[in-house]
């Protein structure tokens, strides 16, 4: 059954990572992504990867879940590796038939591999240990400073919350609608582009109309409970940084600075 916790692969738990403030996790993810693009040699990226892997182990999430999440991208990963490995010009190491592996090729494919793995793992780790609601709250708090420039951060966060809340409801409604139209003889397996477009009308029109009706009723209910756009709102569970959050941010910062310094000085001694 599709519910708030099956979207975005959230797996509830009580590990250190789970208990971090969502802002810490989002900011760490941001730093990781920036590093991934700045760093360009395997050793630095390898250190980064090692760090992420350590974190995933402490999160208590089974490796099987990670593999399931990464499976869809394995093909792309393999293709990228293949291209880098066999088609990068440079110092030949090994050859088989028309295919040559160069030293540069090995390094480049290592970099590509590590970049992809680090980004995917980091993103998965965050979404697996943070509920969609927490992510929304974290994002809202992080966007708050931009409110001074007119960014409606509160409204954006509320829109996300409501959208997430309605996904399972709308999905169930769509399923029911498909069955109802099929009972009337509608055929959604029609061949041909114009036929397909016509066939889909009995789905699209009611879904939209019903969604607008919902939105209308929900807006009335929200106003009845005192909601006004732009007005300041309290929070049931305000986000608060803990000692651990500061510690993690500090460690992140240190590692980032260290790796950047190493890069600026020309990389690790060979």
């Amino acid at each position: 059954m599709l519910n708030i916790n099956t979207i975005g692969q959230y797996i509830p738990g009580n590990s250190l990572i789970h208990r971090l403030d969502p802002r810490t996790k989002l900011l760490s993810l941001l730093i990781t992504i920036v590093l991934v693009f700045i760093l360009d040699e395997p050793l630095s990226l390898g250190i980064l990867a090692l760090g992420i892997i350590t974190l995933t182990i402490t999160s208590g999430i089974k490796p099987k879940m990670f593999w399931q999440a990464l499976r869809p991208v394995v093909i792309i990963l393999m293709l990228a590796l293949f291209l880098q490995l066999f088609f990068t010009p440079g110092e030949k190491i090994w050859a088989i038939g028309p295919l040559t592996i160069t030293r540069e090729g090995v390094i480049n494919s290592g970099v590509v591999f590590l970049r992809l793995v680090v980004m995917l793992l980091a993103a998965y780790l965050i979404t697996a240990t943070t509920s969609p609601n927490e992510l929304t709250h974290g994002l809202e708090k992080l966007l708050k400073p931009f409110g001074k420039f007119g960014l409606p951060y509160g409204e954006i966060a509320l829109m996300l919350t409501i959208a997430l809340r309605f996904i399972p409801t709308l999905t169930a409604e769509a399923e029911r609608l498909i069955k109802a139209q099929e009972a009337r003889g509608a055929d959604f397996n029609a061949k041909g582009l114009t036929n397909k477009a016509k066939a889909v009308l009995p789905l699209i029109v009611p879904l939209f109309i019903n969604a607008f009706k919902r939105a209308d009723e929900l807006a009335v209910a929200m106003e009845a409970r005192g909601y006004r756009i732009g007005a300041p709102r309290g929070k049931l569970k305000p986000l608060k940084f803990n000692f651990v959050d500061y510690l993690i941010m500090l460690i992140n910062g240190l590692i980032a600075v260290l790796l950047i310094i190493i890069k600026l000085r020309g990389g690790f001694p060979a």
Binding site: N5, R214, A221, R225, G234
Partner: protein
């Protein structure tokens, strides 16, 4: 006893220039604190228009409506209407904002910009009143219809209104949900002394109110006790309604000289009185 809502010559029309097309005409009445009132009438009779005027969703064409002495529409614009009148609507799903129960109840208090501690307190109170405290971390999607509607009531209660105004709160629920919700309303009226005003199409629910307002063709056709309303057969029929089966049974028994009091509004109460007679 205090009057909490007052209407004087209340009228509404979408076409004010055309005298025949008034959705609601000339309703003057008061609601007192602690009353439990059922609003009945066929579609187009004006009861929904009356509801919307009380709820600040429409502005009167003529006459006035005051909730605790203030105009509901301006209260709504200030964002404080919910602290005087809690509104609950027919479709449980379209009142739920959040994916988690306690977060949804918190929505109202959050809009009042209360402190986190006060919000938590109100959420707990509202959830306990509606019997949903054990469900506070549940996904709202996973609730039954009756639970969702109780959640909507909790969300309204979190703003601490003295009045609850409900539009067909049970018509989309299964029998178990209907029972849950209606018994909750009776409890809130009885124990928390809330004024409960509800539109209903179920005559057995109307029978259980203290006071019944019947609307017909834009006018107030009856204002009094439910049993007195159902006794007026011609009026009931003219409004395309029928007395609940239980009432019909009691009437026939009384016609056979069985003394059954007006307090009997459920099968259990009927059997209780019958046993005392025997």
């Amino acid at each position: 006893m205090e009057s909490v809502i007052q209407t004087r010559g209340l009228c509404f029309s979408y076409y004010p220039a055309e005298k025949e097309r008034y959705a609601l005409q000339n309703v003057s009445l008061s609601f007192l604190q602690g009353e439990m009132v059922a609003l009945v009438g066929p579609n187009g009779s004006g009861k929904s228009t009356f509801f919307k005027l009380l709820a600040g969703l429409l502005e009167p064409t003529a006459g006035s409506v005051e909730v605790f002495g203030k105009n509901p529409k301006s209260l709504k614009e200030e964002g404080t209407l919910g602290t005087q009148i809690g509104l609950v609507f027919q479709n449980p799903d379209n009142q739920i904002v959040a994916a988690v129960v306690e977060e949804d109840v918190a929505f109202g208090p959050e809009n009042l910009n209360l402190s986190s501690r006060e919000i938590k307190k109100r959420v707990e109170e509202a959830l306990r009143l509606t019997g949903l405290w054990e469900y506070r971390t549940r996904a709202t999607y996973a609730l039954s219809g009756g639970q969702k509607q109780r959640l909507a009531i909790a969300g309204a209660l979190a703003l601490k209104p003295q009045i609850l105004l409900l539009d067909e709160p049970t018509s989309m629920l299964d029998p178990l949900g209907r029972k849950e919700v209606f018994e909750l309303l009776e409890k809130l009226n009885r124990e928390e002394k809330l004024t409960v005003i509800y539109i209903t199409h179920y005559m057995d629910e109307a029978l259980r109110a203290q006071r019944l307002l019947a609307f017909g063709q834009g006018r107030l056709a009856f204002d009094g006790r439910p049993v007195e309303f159902f006794a007026q057969k011609a009026l009931v029929e003219a409004l395309q309604l029928a007395p609940p089966p239980l009432y019909q049974l009691i009437e026939k028994l009384r016609a056979q000289n069985l003394k059954i009091s007006d307090a009997v509004t459920t099968p259990e109460l009927l059997v209780g009185e019958l046993c005392q007679l025997l």
